[in-house]
């Protein structure tokens, strides 16, 4: 099966091509089916590749496809690297992608650009698989940009809405800022090692001075913070919720936004060269986790809460990377992919059932109307809140244990964030599914009452159920007492084995786990007392948090507006008056001094030009005739 690894990106790419060229003629039903099947087949190939790989003793397989950019010493191939890390990624990426394609067939029903939606979605999956399977940085960058542009298209899918168009643009530009980091990292690495191939870079890691290693990792971190929505580039992700909900689930929760974490994990041998860079990564991750969690407590749009929650959870992953706990980061990434996709699809089901309403102030009591959505959302809620024995208890606990060992201060911040997580997710859950049925009343701003909600069709319910089962089972891949035949032993070769030190004494582990569980329960209980009865409590949702710490306003003041002014000034003054003014002035001066000559000449460019043409053409023809 390893020999057909190229099929992984090729199948969705083929789906993309078919749908892009013939989608409109095929019709909606066929388009959706083709798109879903292409990705589903890719998942089957991923399973085959996985079993083939674990049957081998050498778990590092490179598949060369063709030479892409060969110039001098820069030789970039299109080649795939199948190893435990990339296989872990492709398994959950293709599985969740398949479910979300299936869900989209129902959710996007009746949309004008239904076929186009699947065009983008298939291209996205192809790009994401290329990103994780590439054997060199530049090819990863191809996938990286591919998922970015699909995200741009899908966020601004409802292009007639100005907010959607702006959000798509914002997502792309924030990512581009991050891309500068990736490009500079590549340049530095190429300058140092003469290659962009992962395995060759790692083999030559001795060539990095500590300063170069620091700069490379910081540049990569900038890129990761763009893609994975971390400080200072996190604030595009909440806006990206303008896209259709399946997109939020797939791209802006489960897969694309974790690409930054994947890249940092992939580059682990270089990260390990610079402890200064690792501390920076850990601080960025912890700070992002905390800031986003505080913001999530005060949002009233169901998708915005989940978006900030995603930012916060990825913050944990980055914190884990900064602590050297790469496997914990991957473990959390996989678990998060399941429960966060489930949360988003559940939210989509709620929005679908309420005719597009997204404000949790106007929900409540949906438990009775949407039992399937309720039950699956309940599992996702317990999973993310960190209640034992659900997924986040194990995976976030694993992260926090490692942080405790390395940076005790950040462990405290991580614990506070865990408390906030349990709190804001519980608030969301109570306001949406329990309490009074507020949708049947007029809204706070006089909106008319909403019609009675309805449960979603089976194409949407089935993915919810499968993801709920997945969310429960996913933690089995890495339970603390099975470290000999699970994710840790599988991934260890990629992270040099020795990086994953065994935990401290069993008693300390139990103590830490207990603290995690207690914190989760406190968050849930506190939220229950506060939000059980009342949906609107301005004191607990301050403007500072509602407005995301005024982060956007800050950027607008120090970057956006000055740049706009500078740009207009460049156009209207520098270019028009100064540079062109100088040219015209010189021209006028020359004309005046030549006015004497002018009297004896016609002064017309036109006639000069004609005579000149005739002359040159005659001369050239003469030359030609003489020459042959």
């Amino acid at each position: 099966m390893l020999n057909v690894a190229y099929l992984l990106p090729a199948l969705p790419l083929a789906g993309f091509l078919i749908l892009a060229l013939f989608g409109r003629r095929l019709g909606d039903k066929a388009s959706g089916t083709i798109g879903t099947i292409a990705v589903g087949l890719s998942f089957l190939v991923a399973v085959g590749v996985f079993f083939d790989l674990i049957s081998k003793s050498n778990r590092e397989f490179t598949q060369n496809l063709f030479t892409w950019i060969p110039v001098g010493t820069l030789q970039v191939k299109v080649a795939l690297l199948v190893d435990p890390l990339s296989v872990t990624m492709i398994l959950f990426v293709t599985f969740i992608s398949t479910l979300i394609h299936l869900y989209s067939m129902g959710y996007m029903h009746g949309e004008r650009d239904y076929a186009k939606f699947f065009v983008y979605l298939n291209l996205f999956v192809a790009s994401m698989l290329l990103l994780v399977l590439a054997n060199n940085l530049l090819l990863t960058f191809v996938g990286w940009e591919g998922v970015g542009v699909c995200s741009y298209w899908l966020v601004s899918f409802y292009f007639e809405k100005d907010s959607a168009a702006s959000a798509g643009k914002k997502a792309f530009i924030y990512n581009r800022v991050g891309d500068v980091g990736i490009l500079l990292a590549m340049f530095l690495i190429f300058q140092t090692t003469g290659t962009l191939n992962y395995l060759s870079i790692f083999a030559d890691k001795g060539a990095f001075s500590s300063l170069t290693a620091l700069l490379v990792v910081l540049a990569l971190l900038l890129g990761a913070s763009g893609k994975s929505a971390q400080i200072p580039l996190f604030n595009w992700l909440p806006d990206a919720m303008e896209g259709p909900t399946p997109v939020s689930a797939l791209i802006h929760a489960a897969t694309m936004v974790t690409a930054g974490v994947y890249l940092l994990c992939r580059m682990n041998p270089i990260l390990n060269l610079s402890s200064g860079a690792q501390v920076t990564i850990a601080v960025i991750g912890a700070a992002t986790a905390f800031v986003a969690a505080t913001v999530a407590t005060s949002q009233s749009d169901i998708k915005k809460v989940l978006a900030f929650s995603t930012v916060s959870q990825i913050g944990y992953m980055v914190l884990a990377v900064g602590s050297g706990a790469y496997i914990a980061a991957i473990f959390l990434m996989v678990c998060h992919a399941f429960y966060k996709a489930l949360l988003f699809l559940g939210a989509g089901s709620v929005i679908h059932g309420l005719d597009g309403e997204q404000e949790i102030d106007r929900m409540g009591a949906l438990r009775k109307f949407m039992p399937w959505t309720y039950a699956t959302f309940l599992i996702a809620w317990l999973s993310i809140a960190g209640v034992p024995p659900f997924a986040s208890f194990w995976s976030k606990g694993d992260v926090l244990d490692n942080v405790y060992r390395r940076y005790p201060a950040l462990w405290v911040l991580g614990l506070v964030t865990a408390l906030l997580t349990a709190y804001y997710m519980s608030r969301l859950f109570y306001l949406t599914f329990t309490g009074k049925a507020r949708f049947s009343e007029p809204g706070p701003n006089g909106e008319p009452a909403l019609p009675t909600p309805h449960e979603s069709p089976w194409s949407m319910r089935l993915p919810l159920v499968l993801l709920a089962i997945g969310s429960i089972l996913v933690s089995l891949i890495d339970l603390p007492w099975m470290h000999n035949h699970d994710l840790v032993s599988f991934l260890s070769p990629v992270f040099n084995g020795d990086l994953y030190e065994p935990h401290e004494s069993a008693s300390l582990q139990y103590i830490l786990a207990t603290i995690d569980a207690v914190v989760a329960v406190i968050g849930i209980v506190v939220a229950w007392f506060i939000w059980r009865t009342r949906a609107i409590q301005p004191k607990l949702t301050p403007a500072f948090l509602k407005n995301v710490w005024y982060w956007d306003n800050f950027y607008d003041t120090i970057i956006g507006r000055p740049l706009t002014k500078l740009s207009t000034f460049s156009y209207d003054v520098i270019d028009t008056k100064v540079i062109d003014g100088a040219v015209n002035g010189a021209g006028a001066l020359a004309t005046r001094s030549a006015s004497r000559l002018r009297r004896i000449q016609t002064g017309q460019v036109r006639q000069y030009a004609l005579i000149l043409t005739a002359g040159i053409v005659a001369l050239l023809i003469f030359l030609l005739t003489r020459a042959f």
Partner: protein, 523 residues
């Protein structure tokens, strides 16, 4: 140092020049009313030229970095002017680009009014451009270089917008002014060479050996570079271009920006680097700085541009910045990237101007404020515009990325800081293009904008080759790179890069020329 020249039994170059020239004359002889005949003759001539250019590409030996298909005939030995033409990996793709774009212009951007003159001037412009790209004699180059000016001038004044007269005059006078310096420079270097060897010649190959003192070399370098900087146009000599591109009819905008302007960067590559290697190296920091300023400044101004054509014009200033950056970095990757970018930028801007032209034809305006929500009524046009836009932004998988990346990484290994700052240009390009896209194509279309019809099948067919190239050169640029790199290595070898530390990637191995059968001028 020996120059390797290969001849060919088939006179590709002469045919490349004669076919459009004959076509131009034939069209001129037709009667104004014979529109169909005019179109067919023009199209046939341009298509035959394209066919010959493709044959040239096939006959071109990829690994041979020297000049191929060389023809040399002395014309007036007393004057030292000779008919010396040839093709190498740098000019090859410029010739192909020219030959590709002229039929596209004649199919997609022909003028209804006075079609005869339009087609005749367009074909003459093709002669001028191809002629300049194949000339290896400085006077011959100069003649073709000037020849391009005239059709351009008449194309702008004949079919341009409201302010066409002012724009055309500015274009003509400004570039003509620059070429006066070029002419002086050419005569000077030939005179110095003659005094050293008692042999008057304008052959590039012979003049390459000319020894110039530091100051004189720098002055002649400046004279050449000034002319080319205006043509390219390099910041701050660019102000003719926004007006000229905006006022010119679509066809002329395409050829002006995609091909004609390339004569500037081509001239630098072909003549500055080979004739004045020392001055080029001394002046490199200045040019690199201008390049980086151009990249950022062009992007800044493009953000504030109020119409689509000026936006593309300023984005071209930024792209030319990348070409100049790659040229003066003197590394294999950067220079290869610069040559590839000349081709890619030509394809991309041609795509832009073609689409804008079709839009103007329907909507009567290319002002951004007049347009809105076009993606609704014209999804195919929006999709094709998006592909061109993303190629220009430098999305991997499309052609623009490969060249930009090569320029940046090749520059970085020798001049970290310039490259690092230039890298910011990738953000800026996304800003102005996506913002323009949002204002023009997104939002809700109303009024005249809602009535736009989508691209016809004919229009899709015309732009299809450009889109195909954008994708092909993004996914599989190897065949092109394989043909550019040997020439680039030859140019860098000839510069005999002094004091070259080993990590600078300057190739030291002699360029091998399989199939070379005619050792040419030696120095």
């Amino acid at each position: 140092m020996t120059h390797y020249l290969t001849q060919s039994s088939f006179p590709y170059v002469a045919i490349l020049l004669l076919v459009p020239l004959i076509g131009s004359i034939a069209v001129a002889l037709l009667h104004d009313a014979q529109k169909a005949a005019i179109r067919w003759v023009g199209l046939a001539a341009s298509l035959v030229t394209l066919g010959v250019a493709v044959a040239l590409l096939i006959a071109f030996k990829a690994s041979d970095g020297g000049y191929q298909f060389v023809t040399q005939h002395t014309w007036a030995s007393t004057l030292g002017i000779s008919w010396l033409t040839g093709v190498d990996g740098i000019s090859l793709f410029m010739i192909l680009l020219t030959a590709l774009l002229i039929p596209i212009v004649l199919l997609g951007a022909n003028e209804e009014r006075r079609t005869k003159s339009f087609v005749a001037w367009m074909l003459l412009l093709e002669v001028g451009c191809i002629g300049a790209f194949v000339s290896l004699d400085l006077v011959l180059f100069f003649l073709f270089f000037e020849l391009t000016l005239i059709p351009s001038y008449f194309l702008i004044t004949g079919w341009g917008g409201a302010n066409r007269a002012a724009a055309a005059t500015k274009f003509f006078v400004y570039t003509f002014f620059g070429s006066a310096f070029l002419l002086v420079g050419i005569i000077y270097i030939a005179a110095v060479h003659a005094s050293q060897t008692h042999h008057l010649t304008f052959s590039l190959l012979a003049l390459q050996g000319t020894h110039l003192s530091g100051v004189a070399g720098m002055l002649v370098f400046i004279a050449f570079t000034f002319a080319f900087a205006i043509k390219a146009p390099i910041f701050p000599f660019h102000t003719w271009s926004p007006d000229a591109y905006a006022e010119a009819p679509t066809g002329a905008s395409i050829v002006l920006s995609a091909v004609l302007a390339k004569l500037g960067t081509y001239g630098i590559l072909r003549f500055d680097l080979t004739l004045f290697p020392h001055a080029s190296k001394v002046a490199a920091p200045v040019l690199l700085t201008l390049a980086v300023i151009g990249i950022l400044y062009g992007a800044f101004v493009a953000c504030a541009a109020r119409d689509l054509k000026r936006l593309v014009a300023y984005s071209s200033v930024a792209q030319v910045g990348f070409i100049v950056l790659g040229t003066f970095a003197f590394s294999t990757q950067a220079l290869t990237g610069a040559v590839l970018l000349m081709l890619n930028h030509g394809i991309i801007t041609a795509g832009f101007f073609l689409l804008i032209g079709w839009l103007v034809k329907q909507r009567g305006s290319f002002r951004i404020a007049d347009l809105k929500g076009l993606q609704g009524p014209a999804p195919i046009m929006a999709a094709i515009f998006t592909i061109v836009m993303l190629a220009s932004i430098g999305l991997p998988g499309l052609n623009g990325f490969v060249s930009e990346y090569l320029v940046l990484i090749g520059t970085f290994v020798v001049h970290q800081w310039w490259a690092a700052i230039a890298t910011l240009g990738v953000v800026a390009a996304a800003m102005y293009l996506l913002w323009a896209y949002q204002r023009v194509f997104q939002g809700k279309a109303e009024g005249a904008n809602a009535k736009i019809r989508d691209l016809s099948w004919a229009e899709r067919g015309v732009i299809a080759p450009l889109i195909a190239l954008i994708i092909f050169l993004g996914v599989f640029p190897k065949p092109v790179l394989d043909r550019i790199e040997p020439t680039v290595n030859r140019v860098l070898d000839e510069m005999v890069v002094a004091n070259c530390p080993p990590h600078l990637l300057c190739s030291t191995s002699p360029v091998t020329m399989p199939g070379a059968n005619m050792p040419g001028a030696t120095k």
